[in-house]
């Protein structure tokens, strides 16, 4: 399935599900999404006493008659939300064909969902090496399915198999890359990453939740990572460095690995919870909306259209 096809299908999925922009309180220029301040929408917000300078059109005369004081009726403002979409394009994101497809589906879903609500979207691709800087990709280029995936051996045609990123001697840390992203204050910071990073998650989560922003993490994962069937002697090829190491895997080692895997994401989930960042793991393979319903919808990372 090509990227265009994935894009087309995600455009349709965005009509069914969307990013949780309706439940937040956003700031920005006038738009169609309720903001955190008072405005001229029809969404009632509060009553307060009249102060000089207030727009007399919003005086609630009925309330003023009852109380003998001028009472103002306040409405919420409608803004255009700022959305910073950050994509992790490290080698592990393209571990196999299913995971790669699920990554593209998440990217296109977030892209289309942001555009659908008229958000002010900025798109960043994280660097793969420690020396790399995050790259901002024009939204129009992403909409045109033209992704500058330098260092990836495959073309954008995902039907030929998973992408084979070039070897990286020193893979970038996720927290370092997030620190370098020029996030906007009060934005919805959406991170699409498998979170398979050795560094502690606190810095990365803090970057997502800083400056009054709302953090949102989509973590795609493959079954070969969560429930591997390793047994015997295996030559492991590191997805980032492309180095190989031989490992004898028995049942004990496999059990310990699964515990470490579970512990890793438990730490991430707890870190996100402490910062109010919504995180959701999205399994690779199967129907996209079904994968979202498994965890993303219950966690509030995705809202289903009524």
């Amino acid at each position: 399935m090509s990227l265009a096809e994935i894009h087309s299908r995600m455009k349709a999925a965005a009509a069914v599900a969307r990013l949780p922009l309706q439940s937040g309180r956003w700031s920005g220029t006038a738009g169609t999404v309720l903001g955190r301040g008072t405005g001229s929408s029809i969404e009632f917000q509060d009553h307060r006493h009249y102060t000089p300078g207030d727009d007399p059109r919003h005086i609630n005369w009925q309330a003023s008659a009852r109380t003998g004081q001028f009472t103002m009726k306040l409405f919420r403002e409608e803004v255009t939300p700022r959305i910073d979409l950050v994509c992790d394009v490290s080698g592990s994101m393209f571990l196999d064909q299913r995971k790669e497809r699920r990554v593209w589906e998440l990217i296109y879903f977030c892209l289309e969902s942001s555009l659908r609500v008229g958000g002010h979207l900025r798109l960043f691709l994280l660097g793969r090496s420690t020396a790399d800087q995050p790259t901002e990709l024009p939204v129009q280029q992403a909409v045109a399915d033209r992704w500058p995936l330098d260092g990836l051996e495959s073309s954008n045609d995902a039907t030929t198999g998973p992408l084979r990123p070039a070897a990286v001697a020193s893979p970038a840390r996720l927290a370092d890359q997030l620190d370098r992203v020029p996030f906007r204050a009060g934005s919805l910071r959406v991170l699409i990453s498998d979170l398979l990073d050795e560094s502690p998650p606190e810095r990365a989560v803090a970057a997502l939740a800083a400056a009054g922003s709302q953090g949102l993490v989509f973590a795609p994962f493959a079954r070969t990572e969560s429930e591997p069937d390793w047994s015997g002697t295996i030559d492991f090829e590191d997805a980032e460095r492309l180095t190989r190491r031989r490992q004898q895997v028995d049942a004990d080692l496999l059990a310990r690995y699964r515990q470490a895997y579970q512990r890793h994401f438990t730490v991430w989930r707890e870190a996100c919870g402490r910062r109010g960042v919504v995180s959701a793991r999205v399994a690779a393979g199967g129907d996209f909306l079904a994968a979202l319903r498994a965890e993303a919808v219950p966690a509030g990372a995705v809202e289903l259209a009524t």
């Binding site: 592990s92 571990l95 398979l196 990572e225 090829e237 080692l253 690995y257």
Partner: protein, 602 residues
């Protein structure tokens, strides 16, 4: 109920277990997999490292399934059989009485002690029988004690006999220890054919041996001369010292050497004869001895100076017939013609005189023969006058005429003498007895018979017929055996010695000198006869020598031990196959299938 493995080699299948362990300790061919979580794998503290051929032993389902399959297959291949407990068994041990067993006696007893203890463990109680192969040997032991059997073998087993068949003893052992709870064991020193259910135990090995193969003393013109045959039974040249001793009145080891020991050399398998005149300064008994070796029984050769019993012959028959018979009788060894009345042992007489002694009787009277001579026409000799009956001479199966040819005996018709009920016919001609034995009257001192020649000897070729001469010589020997006078002779060990009054004694089974006293219970009649003759002292002075070369040849000795095979065969007969064998087959197949399936899934 116990069990054993009918095919212990099947347990070699257990060697697959270390092979399986080694295989499972080897690293398998690796698979290439991309991984994004190697840092998590590191946190899991891996135990194996790449690059080495052997890794720590890995437990796995295939491993234990393969081990189970190997054990099940080993159990099946070993063919386990369950044995019913045997409450009681009977074992008959047959000891070879052959003299060659002397060379391996101690080794055999030691092996017997060891092997029989193993055999006794097959049942809670064992009844033992110990017999020898030698004929006329009494059983050595019968009872429940193995120690008693071993003690009886130690003390009572005397392997001194020559070569003899084992058949009777083995059959007796099979009867004593009948199947299925019985077992026979033949203890010998060489390969022999035995029934399939009889075990053979031998610890013998081929050995060199030099020994006497026989000896005799001949008297020629009154001069005695001994002659001994020495044989080297080995495959290599051998040297021995030959010693001649005067035994005097002692035994084999007594006496003084009559000459310095002489070194003799024999090539491989060579037999040499040594001979010398009887030492002038020796008594009547000498001993030849060789340097001792593994088999002592043939290293000594006792000899006595022989003294024959002479047969006293009296002739009561006048004429040419009597002369002819005396001539033929005196041609035999040890016959002297005495005048009648001086207590002859044998007389020549006409039929009808019925002497009380053994006699050669002629049925055709001497007078008739003389008359026939007188009736000859002038100028015609008796030979020219002879007319022979062309009828064939037929012989009975009797020791006196056995293996003799009578075709050259030409004679007239048989005489008129008729057989009585007590007579024993020897020769027949035209349906009439030509020669027969007639017993002496019951009142005679000696139980003997007369030889009746029932034809006209003058009108025959008897004087030139060898069969007639041999017949008379054999009859003289029969007469001699009944003469109760002292004599000296050399015998082989165990040889039968015919004695007067129809009695018989055997020489001792071990080499040595011996005498048969006249007062022996076996010789009451003979003693009375000798006493009447005024003689006293021993009846027989003799030496017994071992001269069975077959037993002296130890080159055929070989070690054999079929006890385990026979015991296994017996156990097999009362054992049953493992009833769970089909289950083990299913277990092995299921285990292999499970291992294969597990590997396939992995």
């Amino acid at each position: 109920m116990s069990f054993f493995f009918a095919n212990p080699w099947g347990l070699l299948a257990l060697s697959a277990i270390p092979a399986i362990v080694v295989i499972h300790s080897l690293q398998e061919p690796s698979r290439l997999m991309r991984a994004s979580t190697l840092f998590l794998l590191e946190r899991a503290r891996p135990t194996g490292e790449g690059g080495v051929r052997l890794v720590r032993f890995q437990h796995s389902l295939p491993f234990w399934m393969q081990i189970l399959a190997a054990c099940a297959l080993a159990w099946l291949l070993a063919e386990p059989r369950w044995v019913r407990a045997e409450p009681r068994q009977t074992v008959a041990v047959v000891l070879d009485s052959s003299a060659s067993m002397q060379a391996f006696r101690q080794e055999t007893l030691a092996a017997l002690r060891n092997r029989l203890r193993q055999w006794s463990q097959a049942a809670r109680r064992t009844d033992w029988h110990l017999v020898e192969t030698g004929p006329r040997r009494p059983p050595l032991y019968a009872g429940p004690s193995l120690d008693g059997l071993l003690e009886a073998a130690e003390n009572g087993w005397q392997p001194v006999l020559g070569s003899h068949p084992f058949t009777d003893a083995v059959m007796a052992a099979r009867v004593l220890a009948a199947a299925p709870s019985g077992g026979g064991i033949l203890v010998t020193d060489r390969s022999t054919d035995v029934p399939a259910d009889v075990a053979v135990l031998s610890v013998a090995e081929p050995q060199d041996n030099v020994g006497f193969s026989g000896g005799r003393v001949a008297i020629t013109d009154g001069q005695a001369r001994w002659r001994a045959l020495v044989t080297n039974h080995s495959d290599t040249p051998q040297a021995r010292e030959l010693t001649l001793r005067d035994a005097g009145s002692g035994d084999l080891a007594a006496g003084q050497p009559l000459a310095p020991p002489q070194t003799i050399e024999l090539a491989a398998g060579q037999s040499r004869t040594f001979s010398a005149a009887w030492p002038a300064d020796a008594t009547e008994r000498i001993v030849l001895s060789l340097t001792a070796d593994a088999l002592p029984i043939d290293d000594t050769l006792p000899l006595v100076r022989p003294a024959a019993r002479r047969v006293r012959l009296a002739n009561r028959l006048s004429g040419s017939v009597g002369d002819l018979l005396v001539k033929m009788l005196t041609a035999a060894d040890g016959v002297e013609l005495v005048i009648d009345g001086s207590q002859p042992d044998l007389v020549v007489d006409a039929l009808g005189s019925e002497p009380g002694l053994p006699a050669v009787l002629t049925a055709v009277a001497a007078e008739a023969a003389s008359k026939a001579t007188e009736a000859n026409p002038p100028g015609e000799t008796a030979a020219e006058r002879r007319t022979f009956d062309p009828a064939w001479v037929a012989a009975e199966d009797h020791p006196l005429v056995r293996d003799l040819g009578w075709g050259s005996l030409l004679s007239g018709p048989a005489g008129e003498a008729a057989l009585s009920a007590s007579d024993t016919p020897l020769l027949w001609k035209d349906g009439r007895p030509l020669a027969f034995l007639r017993p002496t009257p019951p009142a005679a001192a000696r139980a003997a018979a007369s030889l009746v020649l029932n034809w006209n000897l003058d009108n025959s070729t008897a004087g030139r017929t060898a069969a007639v001469v041999v017949l008379i010589a054999r009859f003289v020997d029969e007469v001699r055996r009944q003469i109760p006078r002292s004599w000296a002779e050399n015998f082989e060990t165990g040889q039968a010695i015919p004695l007067p009054a129809g009695r018989q004694q055997r020489a001792p089974e071990t080499p040595g000198f011996f005498t048969l006293p006249i007062t022996s219970q076996n010789f009451q009649a003979a003693a009375a006869d000798v006493d009447s003759a005024g003689e006293s002292g021993p009846l027989l002075t003799a030496a017994a020598q071992f001269a069975d070369a077959r037993e002296c040849d130890l080159g055929d000795a070989m070690a054999l031990d079929t006890l385990d095979a026979i015991r296994l065969e017996r156990v097999m007969k009362r054992s049953v196959e493992d009833p769970w064998a089909p289950l083990w087959i299913v277990v092995a197949a299921a285990a292999l299938l499970a291992a294969w399936s597990s590997r396939r899934r992995a």
